[in-house]
Symmetry: C2
Subunit: 123 residues, 2 copies
């Protein structure tokens, strides 16, 4: 599977796929002419990577996840995953915090719009 093909199937740009290779997230085989030759299973991997990037994870974290997932396929109990779970928990927490702050901000704004009162903020 050539890069353009995978790009079209997954909806990810060819440039992004090369970027994933630079980041060692998805390193395909090479044909004799130097062209990247992706496996069918890589469609799934790209979807995973897409989802994790959209979730706000950095490539370094995603790389760890993929390594951990590969280890898991051997049947062992995924030693690295607890750290990743912690990472995901902390990211979820940060998102929660951001959302809470956003709600406060929005509340203050609404308050201003209706009352036109004094400005106030929590530290």
């Amino acid at each position: 599977m050539l890069i353009g093909e995978l790009a079209e199937v997954t909806g990810v740009s060819a440039r992004a796929l090369r970027h994933y290779e630079d980041q060692e997230l998805l390193v395909p085989e090479r044909d004799t002419n130097g062209y990247r030759n992706y496996a069918e299973a890589d469609v799934i991997r790209v979807a995973q990577i897409k989802a994790m990037i959209a979730a706000g994870l950095g490539t370094a974290t995603i790389r760890q996840y993929l390594e951990c997932a590969r280890t898991g396929e051997h049947g062992t109990t995924l030693e690295l995953c607890p750290r990743l779970t912690a990472e995901l928990e902390s990211l979820a927490g940060r998102l929660d915090a951001r959302q809470a702050e956003l709600r406060d901000t929005r509340r203050r704004l609404s308050g201003l719009a209706s009352r036109s009162s004094e400005l106030s903020a929590s530290a």
Copy 2:
């Protein structure tokens, strides 16, 4: 109040405060020697800016918010605010979406850890 003082009080770096000035978020008076002279009320404004940046708002949006808030102190009904409310709504929506995706990602990871089964993802 000098920049270093405000920096220490608010926990925001002096560099960041100068950046806020470049972005026209907080433009202090100047002493005869050219030093920035912040008002006491700016402590609150910095806290607001901090909160909004942490909430994921860009400086351009924050500037609009601050202008709108200033207008509000005159007693008028804040014409610009509806646009900002929409902006905040959309940001809240994006955060919700990210959180949902993150939860899915985390679920998939948990699934892998317990089952060590086949990789799967939703497009």
